[in-house]
């Protein structure tokens, strides 16, 4: 497909004065990398910046108009929304902790005890839940957790409880269970990557020195795997704050998160408020990442052994 003008190789001498014509293919190559950049700037960076701008706009009946008011922030910080937001932070943290306790040992086990060739296959198993739509996965929790659901009827049949536990669903507990279900694989992935920073021989050295399991975890694994664990935890925490679906299906009065607050604001056509909530969430995430970077140098995650 080369155009005839590019055929200058036959004589071996280039005509002096005329710049060589670059084939269109060569000129196109850089755009393989520029195109995604343009896409991300247009559809991610600019909208994110606009979020902050829109959050100080004046609210109108169906949209908003340019202006400067902190009314939306006032509306957020001086209402039950702040309490709900702080609550959802608390329960997100609880979900992170549960995910870590359940998921990190799995990652350690896979790194330490599963043969190298099988490790990635085992990790692959944790991707399987994502083959099912999250709505279905989360919604399927309802018949398990509800008043006469699987958990309650089993406990009652076993005679462990006399009447059903209603706090399992439409509550913070339900949301936390949903968050653990949805995000557990992420701590396994993050932990698996983080454990790459823990060389395998370390365990034998620990055997030789007589380092017990708790010390081994505290003195050796944790400091080495910290950047990866932190990254996984931030991911879960931020999703716990932001994914509206979970409190929407499993939550109830008061059991909402920032994502649901924003969604509700949009439903109420209060766009500046929704933007303000988003801006606050972004600020939270950035602060967390900044703290994490100061503590662990997050660039290490991608170069564990160098």
């Amino acid at each position: 497909m080369a155009s005839p003008t590019t055929d200058v190789t036959d004589g071996g001498t280039l005509p002096v004065g005329t710049p060589p014509v670059t084939p269109w293919r060569d000129r196109l190559t850089p755009w393989v990398f520029r195109a995604p950049l343009v896409f991300m700037v247009m559809f991610f960076a600019i909208p994110m910046a606009l979020t902050v701008v829109f959050s100080v706009f004046e609210r109108t009946m169906f949209w908003m108009e340019p202006g400067f008011t902190l009314f939306s922030y006032e509306n957020f910080f001086f209402s039950a929304r702040l309490i709900n937001f702080l609550d959802s932070m608390k329960y997100s943290l609880i979900a992170v902790a549960i995910c870590f306790v359940l998921g990190f040992p799995i990652a350690v086990f896979i790194r330490k005890s599963v043969p190298q060739v099988a490790q990635h296959r085992v990790i692959l198993l944790f991707i399987l839940p994502f083959m099912v739509s999250e709505i279905i996965r989360v919604f399927a929790l309802r018949p398990v957790l509800q008043r006469n659901g699987l958990v309650n009827s089993t406990l009652m049949d076993l005679g462990l409880i006399d009447e059903p536990i209603t706090a399992l669903l439409y509550s913070h507990t339900g949301v936390v269970i949903g968050e653990v279900l949805s995000f557990l694989p992420f701590i396994v992935f993050a932990g698996f990557l983080a454990m790459e920073a823990v060389p395998k021989y370390i365990f034998e050295v620990c055997d030789d020195l007589g380092v017990g399991p708790w010390r081994r975890f505290k003195d050796v694994i944790l400091p080495l795997a910290a950047p990866g664990i932190f990254a996984g935890s931030v991911f879960i925490f931020v999703n716990g704050l932001g994914v509206a679906l979970l409190p929407n299906i499993l939550g109830g009065a008061g059991a909402v998160n920032a994502g649901l607050i924003a969604t509700q604001a949009i439903t109420a056509l209060d766009f500046p408020l929704a933007m303000a909530v988003s801006a606050i969430m972004m600020a939270t995430l950035m602060t967390l990442l900044w703290i994490g970077h100061k503590l662990f140098d997050l660039t290490k995650i991608l170069s564990p052994l160098s």
């Binding site: 920073a197 060389p199 021989y201 370390i202 034998e204 050295v205 055997d207 030789d208 020195l209 007589g210 380092v211 017990g212 010390r215 003195d219 050796v220 400091p223 080495l224």
Partner: protein, 370 residues
């Protein structure tokens, strides 16, 4: 500090006694009925090809593997199924097995911290250990800021600081380059003499083994083939495998023609060679192996007198190796023999294919029967 030579008259029990030790992995036999005794204060080397079982033996002594059968006694005590940290052994690993996030001082002191020693006591012992391995200036560096040799020295310090009296070294120099390996060999030897504890060192490198060892055990295919003083293993190998693995031996195979007590006549490639039987029991017609070190073999004219300590062959080529030159000679049966000489002249080399006679002193040829 006591000098680290084994004292056979002392009532001290041997540092390590391995009795009828076997280790199986499913059908694979990693060690087969191994017996070995290692004296206290000895520098002992387990030498052999990769995958021969030497590391398995070392790790079984250290408590990282459980034997399938047999037992290990350390300082006269059966250690049964004691974990590594409850044994009087400690290990120096092949890879630079340091804690990447700790400084040199922390790495060396960690074992003592775990053992619950007081801080000032730890600092004192760590300083002393680092001084012994020559790393006193590097105390605050992290492992990635050290060279390979320095990292291995940190491992050594971490091991000797524990005051356990048997040090196990699993190919400790394998990851170092050739020159550094030579230097570290001598340092290891001197360190062992200084601290006076038992060193058991696994390697596949015979030069390394010769440099450091008081005694060497050859291990191949799960068997302990031969065990003896470093010099004896080189000069007077007993088994065919030892002769073929250690040094550069010419291996000839033949059949016993006549055996008469102390010496035997062996048919090899159309020649009748005389060899000392070394008290080995041989019968007429028995297939045997002969070995002669390449540096003991000389090349003579084709018309030199035939005797029982020479063989006819055809010159193949010479290989210049710097310090020495190897002359390759093909025997009538196709066996290649090497004569290695220190010589820096290229003059007077026979032409390829030229007939000649390969000779040696009667005492340089050894008989192997197995």
């Amino acid at each position: 500090m006591t000098k680290g030579t084994p004292d056979m008259t002392s009532p001290r029990p041997p540092a390590v006694e391995v009795r009828n030790l076997s280790k199986h992995y499913g059908d694979f036999v990693a060690l087969r009925d191994v017996n070995v005794t290692i004296g206290a204060g000895e520098y002992f080397v387990l030498l052999g090809p990769s995958g021969g079982g030497k590391t398995t033996l070392l790790r079984t002594i250290g408590g990282f593997h459980r034997p399938t059968s047999g037992e290990v006694l350390l300082n006269g005590q059966s250690v049964g199924h004691l974990p590594p940290d409850k044994r009087p052994t400690t290990m120096v690993f092949q890879a630079y097995a340091l804690f990447p996030h700790m400084t040199v001082t922390q790495n060396v002191g960690y074992g003592l911290k775990v053992a619950g020693l007081r801080k000032d006591k730890i600092a004192e012992k760590v300083d002393y250990a680092l001084e012994q391995v020559g790393l006193s200036q590097f105390t605050h560096r992290k492992p990635h800021e050290l060279s390979g040799g320095q990292q291995q020295r940190v491992q050594l310090a971490r091991a000797i600081v524990l005051d356990r009296d048997i040090l196990l070294l699993d190919e400790p120099l394998a990851a170092l380059d050739a020159q550094l390996r030579k230097d570290m060999c001598l340092e290891l030897k001197h360190l062992q003499e200084q601290v006076g504890i038992t060193f058991i060192h696994v390697t596949h490198n015979q030069e390394e083994a010769m440099t450091v060892a008081d005694r060497i055990a050859l291990i191949a295919n799960g068997n302990l083939v031969e065990c003896g003083n470093a010099r004896d293993i080189y000069r007077a190998p007993d088994k065919t495998f030892t002769a073929s693995f250690v040094g550069e031996n010419n291996m000839l195979s033949g059949k016993i023609a006549t055996a008469n007590g102390t010496s035997a006549i062996v048919d090899v490639a159309g020649a009748r060679l005389s060899v000392d039987t070394r008290g080995l029991h041989v019968q007429d017609g028995q297939p045997v192996n002969l070995s002669i070190r390449s540096e003991c073999v000389a090349i003579d004219h084709a018309d030199a007198a035939a005797d029982a300590h020479s063989i006819k062959g055809a010159y193949t080529e010479s290989v210049y190796l710097g310090l020495t030159t190897s002359h390759l000679v093909r025997l009538p049966d196709g066996t290649e023999m090497i004569s290695r000489v220190i010589s820096d002249t290229d003059d007077g080399l026979p032409e390829a294919g030229a007939p000649l006679r390969v000779t040696w002193k009667p005492s340089d040829i050894r008989l192997h029967v197995e």
